[in-house]
């Protein structure tokens, strides 16, 4: 396509060039923010990385930052338990919801449910946390005190990451070519036979991308977990034990952290960032391959 350099609407000949330069400037700023974030996290965590050997983050006997003991391991397991627990719950729930929208509901119901899921995605994490604190924690407290526990965190996280998985898997499900469905029907497969044997394998990559994105959200979630998980630094020995995640730890201690302690909190932020970057990059690969089909 050949574009005219001047036109009656914009008389100046060089406007396109200036415009292009302006846009490039904007895009460069946008792209540099990510680099800036990495740079500043590295800068702030440098003091700790320099004179605290990395091994001490796993071999120190406890997390007592004021006495120079920096064992991050309980927080890491807290994050892992909470996010893997919520993933275990959200995978069946999310895929069932997406299947409902794509194959079981009438177009009207499907639209309605989609709206509901989108609204659920719009509820702020602090409101989820507040609801968990005032409703779910007392309920579990009656059953197994103290209530604020790994289980509550898992339940609230599940609700929060459900929309991510539902919307991405739904997109993957309806991207399955119609011919596949018609061929399956022609072969006499039942509805579930078609879904299990044809649709799910065809949409697998899109769904996996959705799961990875949901995992990234679960790992990075702060406020809701901070409000319902109890925040005790320990390796959880049951579902009802209170835990503290990496994100909650930063939110709790940043306000008064000084010197090395602050630098260690930035190290944990860096750790979180790397974890989430790996997850989203992997999700990007799967998503791309899925679109390439």
């Amino acid at each position: 396509m050949i574009w005219w350099k001047c036109s009656i609407l914009f008389q100046s000949v060089s406007i396109d060039r200036w415009f292009n330069a302006g846009l490039r400037l904007g895009a460069t700023v946008a792209a540099l923010i990510m680099a800036l974030i990495l740079l500043f996290l590295l800068l702030e965590s440098w003091p700790a990385l320099q004179h605290i050997p990395l091994m001490r983050f796993v071999t120190d006997d406890a997390w007592h930052p004021l006495e120079d003991r920096y064992n991050l391991l309980p927080m890491v397991t807290g994050t892992l338990y909470a996010s893997s627990g919520s993933l275990l719950l959200v995978i069946p729930l999310g895929i069932a919801s997406a299947l409902f929208m794509a194959f079981y509901a009438s177009p009207r119901m499907s639209m309605l449910y989609r709206r509901l899921i989108e609204l659920l995605a719009g509820i702020p994490s602090v409101v989820f946390g507040f609801w968990g604190l005032t409703t779910v924690v007392p309920l579990i407290n009656q059953w197994q005190p103290p209530g604020a526990s790994l289980l509550t965190a898992i339940l609230i996280l599940t609700l929060m990451i459900l929309p991510t998985l539902v919307l991405t898997s739904y997109a993957a499900l309806i991207a399955v070519p119609d011919e596949y469905l018609r061929s399956a029907a022609a072969l006499g497969l039942s509805r579930w036979g078609m879904i299990y044997g044809v649709v799910l394998p065809a949409a697998r990559q899109g769904i996996v991308a959705g799961i990875l994105l949901a995992a990234g959200r679960a790992v990075g979630e702060t406020m809701a977990v901070l409000m319902v998980a109890g925040n005790v630094v320990q390796h959880a020995d049951s579902l009802f034990a209170p835990i503290r995640t990496l994100t909650a730890n930063i939110a709790l201690e940043m306000a008064y952290a000084m010197g090395d302690h602050r630098a260690v909190l930035f190290v944990s932020g860096l750790l979180l960032l790397l974890l989430v970057m790996i997850l989203t990059t992997m999700a990007g690969w799967f998503g791309k391959e899925h679109h390439g089909e």
Binding site: W3, A27, F40, I123, A185, M223
Partner: protein, 292 residues
């Protein structure tokens, strides 16, 4: 909407299995819808008692136990406007560049796109750490509405770019060809042909961005701060609504009632914003179908 009805022709035990699975799926859907309604009803029941016009405009007293959320709403509005003022030009410029001015596979384009994709996944608490280290300390803005707004602007970029880019890409290629055939320049085509068509998508993206920003808490804890006074300048600390809810429910004994009311205000605001955004997206998709 894909609604693919397939006739059940399997053997009897297959029929039974299909019915069982259908039942399970309906149960999941009922469960999710039920929990959504439960959350809404809980918030409405807990918050409606205190919610009134007076609550919205009066100042918080006694660390928020009494009084209203007047100054909190003002701070929220200020933080939001700064975030949008900064993020909109940058985000939309990036979107226009990616969609219209450079080839999709160019190295600059894929670098920008990858960077934004990673940015979209960064946890909000990490944005908080970055905003604290960069805006509050390195640039010397301290705990202020300005540094909170700028931190939020960084968070909003990915969503603004992706919605605006999708909006532009959905404009049929024939529009661009016709514009070029009429001898329009690129900038003229953008402003007179493409943008008028893509406006609903851009507006929906804008609203989603506002929703995301109003819901944010963790990124603002160490940037815009906790002070609940009425902000006097942009360099004052100001507590946003989401943070107010957090503080009341976690740090203020007896703060549950105003926390409920504040949560109700926030959630009503967000539901409204999201519903309008959805409506716009719907409108835009219909228009897209009509033009194809």
């Amino acid at each position: 909407m894909a609604n693919k009805q397939i006739v059940d022709t399997g053997k009897p035990n297959h029929l039974l299995r299909d019915r069982a699975i259908q039942l399970l799926i309906y149960l999941v859907v009922l469960c999710v819808s039920g929990i959504f309604l439960w959350i809404l009803l809980d918030l409405i029941r807990g918050g409606s008692a205190l919610l009134s016009w007076d609550f919205l405009i009066s100042m918080p007293r006694d660390t928020g136990r009494a009084g209203g959320i007047g100054s909190i709403l003002v701070s929220t509005l200020l933080v939001l406007s700064i975030a949008l003022l900064v993020a909109l030009p940058i985000g939309w410029a990036t979107a226009v560049l990616l969609a219209e001015f450079i080839p999709a596979m160019s190295s600059f384009g894929s670098w920008v796109r990858y960077s934004l994709q990673v940015l979209a996944g960064v946890p909000s608490i990490v944005f908080g750490l970055f905003g604290y280290a960069f805006f509050s300390i390195y640039l010397g803005m301290g705990f202020s509405i300005l540094s909170g707004g700028l931190t939020l602007a960084c968070m909003l970029l990915p969503i603004l770019v992706s919605t605006a880019e999708a909006g532009l890409r959905a404009v049929p290629e024939s529009y661009r060809l016709s514009a070029a055939a009429l001898g329009m320049s690129r900038a003229a085509t953008l402003f007179h042909v493409l943008l008028p068509v893509a406006v609903p998508a851009w507006a929906a993206g804008l609203l989603l961005g506002i929703g995301r920003a109003a819901a944010e808490t963790a990124a603002l804890m160490f940037t815009s701060g906790y002070v609940d006074r009425m902000p006097e300048s942009l360099l004052d600390s100001g507590r946003v609504l989401a943070l107010h809810i957090f503080d009341l429910s976690m740090n203020v004994p007896g703060g549950d009632a105003p926390a409920h009311a504040s949560a109700l205000v926030l959630i009503l605001l967000l539901l409204m914003i999201n519903l309008v955004a959805m409506h716009l997206t719907h409108l835009w998709q219909r228009r897209k179908l009509n033009t194809e």
